[in-house]
Subunit: 351 residues, 2 copies
DNA sequence: CTGAAAGCGCTTACAG
DNA sequence: CTGAAAGCGCTTACAG
């Protein structure tokens, strides 16, 4: 009986190639004893027929078969690690295997048949921890009937892509309000790109809090660039070297905040005595800085879990209420913020 | 021809159960038309023989089929992340898919048939980032013909397990020699458990360097516990509160070092002016402390890559030259170490 | 409830 | 380099 689902068998392909099943089998298994022309012909027909071979009943049933593919941008870091932890946790609970994309190249250079291979290997959905999913990837996944969920994209609303994020605007507001409540009035911002709606929301939350409190926000107190350690050092340096330097800085990520702390230390300024610093994310970094970092927690693990469950729901053909969900951020107060010093902001050399 | 690798087939199980292949097939597929007693018998024999069914040539061919399972202990952290990055990189180069174990429970509580399920899902080998692979896991993997490679185990030589580590003794020596060269004579150690050969090697490397230089190593300068941030705070605090506190501390991990830096900061001591600190690992943490951390680099990415290639070699049935390989550590000098201050070690309040 | 028989998809030793 | 033939592991319609 031929496979009901219309999947190609060796004999389908052999017939259409006009060769024997034996020969097709050899090509599939990469045996050397096949003529070059024959091999090329058979290979093209295998691809045309989307041949994926006989399914293994064992693998079908196995909880170890990876159902979810996690796609990353660049290297793993403290941020993506927490998200992945959440995906793994939720996968473990659901009895679902999770594979991490081994990206030989960048997203731009996915191997041919990438999405089809994922489907053939048993994936049911893809979770991407990326700023912007390339449209080529989205098209390929859609052809392979693999739903995609993006975690914390730069511009969640712009694309018609299912995504999970957090309340960036509220987080930025909470950070600034915390600093205002500590008596700070000169509050700088060092954050991510202005092309990112995500980072814009954080910055505008900060601005909204300051404006509501009647506190001015000079242009040179707002610095946007990338969100890495080096950007924190550069942005922190620029602000701390101002004639009227801020007494507090809200950084758009924990890494950036670590850079700001280092910029302060390099200038002999103490955190939090001379400078309060608030980060964003609450990755492992926030626990390890000196002092430990006050930060706006993004529930990254939870976001990973929501992404996994959403992905499974899409794979099961369910409809979603909304294609974008945001989880609440929360201010975590640690040791990097303190009440504004009397006379704070003076040059430490004059003390 | 029966499978060479000794895997059970339906007929193996049928013979040992004294029933037909048909009946065994029905049990495997959960068909209802099998007597309860027969089903129970067959099921127990399937388990006994570790039956995993025939391999799917389909999934065989797909580069997306996860061939390697990475097993973790507890949550992902900066350390395991770098290793996994190395595994992913090497997997990408080899065109090999990598899955991360979704451990619902701890290692102790692997689900029944764990290793068998992995084999059925196409895994060829397992890489464990764990202190000690439980013998139950090792037995299960061996029955499922899945080779195991352990990365940086506590006691690499003790077990007959293939493992990849780094030159811990040499690393400890390099750290201490660096501090000695900077003029330090009161050099403390805050490191991992004394039950761990890995941590012992680091400590003895440190001791060897000090003894070779004729520098005494008082007992209360050597503190062992766990290797986390909190242990660094506690260990750092204990040493910094000594009547004659060290002017430099070698910490057994970057996290511990971050804790020592925090203990110093909490006491108003500046790093590196009042206290030099050397870490171990060179994870992302080392870049983000203030000041950036001088540390002994373990080539964690490379170790992940070597583990992957070793695992594939074992899966292909190759013999290894050695069941344990160590990659070289290397001292990375950053900002947390400096020449001993003239008068260094005095209470800062008296300056 | 059980299993002999037929048949599928695939692989391989071997003849040409 | 190619494929007919034998055979493996598995499934299923069917006889008892």
């Amino acid at each position: 009986m031929p496979p009901r689902d219309g999947r190609a068998t060796l004999s389908t392909v052999a017939r259409s190639a006009g060769v024997s099943v034996t020969t097709v089998s050899k090509v599939v298994n990469g045996r050397p004893d096949v003529g070059a022309g024959t091999r090329a012909l058979v290979e093209s027909l295998l691809a045309q027929h989307d041949y994926i071979g006989r399914r293994s009943p064992a693998a079908e049933g196995s909880p170890a078969t990876a159902r979810i593919e996690v796609v990353l941008e660049g290297d793993l870091n403290a941020y993506s690690t927490k998200i992945i932890q959440g995906v793994l946790d939720a996968g473990g609970e659901a009895g679902i295997g999770v594979a991490i994309g081994t990206q030989a190249g960048a997203d731009a250079s996915r191997p041919r048949g990438w999405a089809r291979d994922l489907a053939a290997a048993g994936r049911r959905a893809v979770i991407a921890v990326v700023d912007e999913p390339p449209s080529t990837d989205r098209a390929a996944l859609s052809r392979a009937h693999l739903p995609l969920v993006v975690i914390a994209p730069l511009n969640p609303q712009r694309e018609r892509v299912t995504s999970v994020g957090s309340t960036n605007f509220a987080g930025g507001m909470a950070a600034a309000q915390h600093l205002l409540a500590l008596g700070h009035r000169r509050i700088g911002y060092v954050g991510g790109s202005s092309r990112s709606a995500r980072d814009q929301a954080r910055m505008h939350g900060y601005r909204a809090a300051l404006e509501a409190a009647g506190v001015p926000v000079p242009d040179d107190y707002q610095r946007t660039g990338d969100s890495r350690y080096q950007d924190g050092i550069a942005g922190g340096a620029a602000q701390l070297d101002l004639p009227e330097r801020p007494t507090a800085v809200f950084a758009g990520s924990d890494e950036t905040a670590a850079g700001v702390i280092e910029a302060a230390r390099a200038r002999g300024l103490r955190v939090p005595d001379d400078l309060s610093v608030v980060g964003f994310d609450d990755t492992e970094v926030a626990r390890l800085t000196s002092p430990p970092l006050t930060t706006v927690r993004q529930p990254l693990r939870e976001m990973g879990g929501v992404a996994l469950r959403t992905a499974l729901r899409l794979a099961a053909g369910e409809k979603l209420d909304s294609h974008h969900v945001e989880l609440a951020t929360e201010l975590i107060v640690r040791g990097s913020t303190a009440a504004r010093q009397v006379g704070g902001g003076a040059d430490p050399a004059t003390r």
